[in-house]
Symmetry: C2
Subunit: 439 residues, 2 copies
């Protein structure tokens, strides 16, 4: 993409309304634009990142055997009356009357609807286990939306729902999502630590939040440093095998949110030099809730013995919009964003230091064609801006690599390649740069 | 995907509520499920098709130089008050009050919001032309939603908006979308014919509907048979070149909707044996509307002479959800759907005629592994259903190829390959089948 043809509305000044760094950087880089309180449009640069995050989430859900559907945003209130939540859910639910005065709502979550879809066709244990997920926009009418897309009213959510005959089956499904989440966050360049979370009236040990450490985190968390270096299950993980050894290893070392923290246990179990006390951002939540919805909504399945019982369910949420902000919180410096390669909006920023100079233009065009031809996604800064301004933009938007081309370097047969994350720069021939980037 | 692990809730009976064939087939094959009047959940089979349609639309928008964004579903009423449409738009607009009693709405379209995004950062002709599009769920509160996703209340829409300095520039942008639409529909296996449409108070000749011929179409259309065989612009089309010769050729031959039909001209211009009078379904609409929104909303750009003028805009819509139904209307038979390869939910249906038979199972597993390994998306019917039922399901869901494996054939060293569209069957070795399908 040529920057001169792109739509990248960089703000010169830091927006005053933004309290946290991800919000500031997303506004400054023109990734998003606020259209109403807590409601954002995703502009080209931001939308590319969001789609990449979404795709990583999708691939790992599929790998774990979950099946993608798409439920609508607008739901009938009647469905929520069946579960009893229509009255219980407070003002966060956006309630709507349609032209026929029917009560509708913009879905804040989908337990009711997925239970309805399930009960309409599944009758037997033979069709289990089943895990259906979707990636859809949801709405929660927060009183004071803030922190940009970290806590917005309209937000994208991947929510998966598992269905099993009994609790033992539900644990198998739970473990699959546990491992899928470990893989998902790692692929996004994040160190996410599963921490026991409140399981409400259901009780038990099947409720975990996945938390990343970031200075600007919303809550305090405590964990064993060992957890930061635990190996992530590989691509070849067999999701049909017993995953409990993997899950157990992650739950063995101490990790707790403020709510669940036990200072005495922390000090007893974790040597002083491994105790981490930090701020954390919740990026995922997995939760077994048994028959909470299936019982009132009569989603029953027949077991091998013919008896009919409410299906056991769990839900598994990740917010891709919030993740984009979380990645920035975890990966930036004073100059701007530092994108992990897996979600960078472009692979390479090609910087023409003297647009209009025939030789420099020709060299850039050649590099652009070669890199693009090799499947690299390149943002070519072909504008008439000054070099200093181009550098600042490149640092700000944080593409993994900057390829810098100017008349002086070309005279010496060289271009410069800069790694955004390490700051490392090297001079090399144009051909070597192509090999390095396209290799 | 193994059918035993998939979620494919086929209905045994034809649903009574469905009036048209696409709606019937989408319900029967478990592609969609109605969740409220005119509001559908997309189940796994349907969602795969929808994503493929969406991706073809996206690729052709990108090829034509349009840039993807994503605007939110919920909009502020204030924006619509600026254009004057908040009061004009009737009951089709889903109006909402949030918890602070602010007037919001579920966007039925996005002219206002995209104009707001544009005016916030673009000031000069140097940043033009610009075409921004998004693929987003919209809501129109139809009095009587019907025909399934052909006319639903919540629907997916690709809407692009072009911005140019003047009308001449707008025509260039218009032509790009015109050609992109020709390519899009052709890739989806549809013969879509551009027909002059009402341009309202703007006047002029820049408003076209793209219409496909289908017996169940909503309106009557008239055209010259020649149009069905005009060549579609190739992948190598240069969108920076003058596209008016291509556009002109398509507009030269007679084609008109009922509204615009001129029987005398039709008979004068088109020889009797080339006159087509048929039913049509609108699958796209492109439209130049000048400064209708930019003038009241003060989206102005400075021209080369420094004078500031409202930007000239056009909008370009395609409904992917409606397209899924339109493709089925255009491509089915008594047994079920016949998917074009470009949007088929799977490439191949692998049918095990005797699940549980060791040799047949082994042969199927081997074929499944080889085809999947070669990048083919295979739905493997490994269930315990009878052969007749498996055949019926395969015909119904309409995958392009059926690969049929049974003990008798295997004893003779053969499997059977059936083309869903032509009905052609041939016996061949398993290896030849793999070569044929994976080639």
């Amino acid at each position: 993409m040529r920057l001169s043809r792109y739509f990248l509305p960089i703000l010169k000044e830091t927006p005053k309304e933004a309290d946290i760094v991800s919000h500031r950087l997303m506004l400054r880089t023109g990734m998003i634009r606020q259209e109403a309180a807590g409601i954002y449009a995703w502009l080209p640069l931001g939308y590319k990142v969001l789609k990449k995050v979404e795709q990583v989430v999708r691939e790992e859900q599929n790998r774990a055997g979950a099946i993608e559907v798409l439920m609508p945003t607008i739901q009938s209130a009647d469905l929520w009356r069946e579960s009893g939540r229509y009255d219980d859910y407070g003002k966060e639910m956006l309630r709507i009357k349609d032209r026929h005065e029917r009560d509708m709502l913009f879905g804040p979550t989908n337990e009711e609807m997925i239970t309805e879809i399930f009960r309409a066709s599944v009758r037997s244990y033979r069709d289990l286990p089943l895990n259906l997920y979707h990636i859809q926009w949801k709405f929660r009418d927060e009183v004071r939306p803030r922190f940009g897309v970290m806590r917005s009213r309209e937000f994208l959510m991947k929510d998966a729902y598992s269905f099993d005959l009994d609790q033992a089956g539900a644990r198998v499904s739970y473990n699959k999502m546990f491992v899928a989440y470990l893989r998902t966050f790692a692929r996004l360049g994040l160190k996410a630590i599963p921490m026991a979370a409140d399981s409400g009236p259901i009780g038990g040990d099947m409720s975990h939040e996945f938390i990343i450490l970031a200075k600007t985190g919303e809550s305090e968390v405590f964990c064993d440093k060992e957890l930061l270096d635990l190996p992530i299950p590989g691509e070849d993980t067999d999701f049909e095998a017993d995953l409990s050894p993997i899950v157990s290893r992650w739950l063995e070392s101490y990790a707790a949110t403020d709510e669940k923290h036990d200072a005495a246990r922390f000090e007893a179990e974790v040597p002083a030099d491994r105790r981490i006390s930090a701020r954390g951002i919740e990026v995922g939540h997995i939760f077994y809730f048994g028959t909470k919805y299936s019982a009132p909504m009569k989603a029953v399945v027949a077991g091998p013995d013919g008896s009919e019982n409410p299906v056991h369910m769990g839900s598994y949420g990740i917010g891709p919009t919030r993740l984009v902000a979380a990645i920035i919180e975890a990966s930036h410096d004073d100059a701007g964003i530092i994108w992990p390669e897996s979600v960078a909006p472009f692979d390479v920023g090609l910087i023409n230091l003297k647009s209009g100079d025939a030789a420099t233009d020709a060299a850039c065009e050649d590099l652009y064609a070669k890199l693009t031809g090799a499947g690299r996604d390149v943002l070519y800064d072909d504008t008439g801006e000054r070099a200093g301004s181009k550098f600042a933009t490149a640092e700000l938007i944080g593409l993994p690599w900057q390829l810098i081309v100017g008349p002086k370097g070309l005279a010496a047969g060289e271009v410069e390649l800069k790694n955004r994350a390490t700051g490392e720069r090297r001079s090399l021939s144009a051909d070597s740069a192509v090999s390095k980037l396209a290799g």
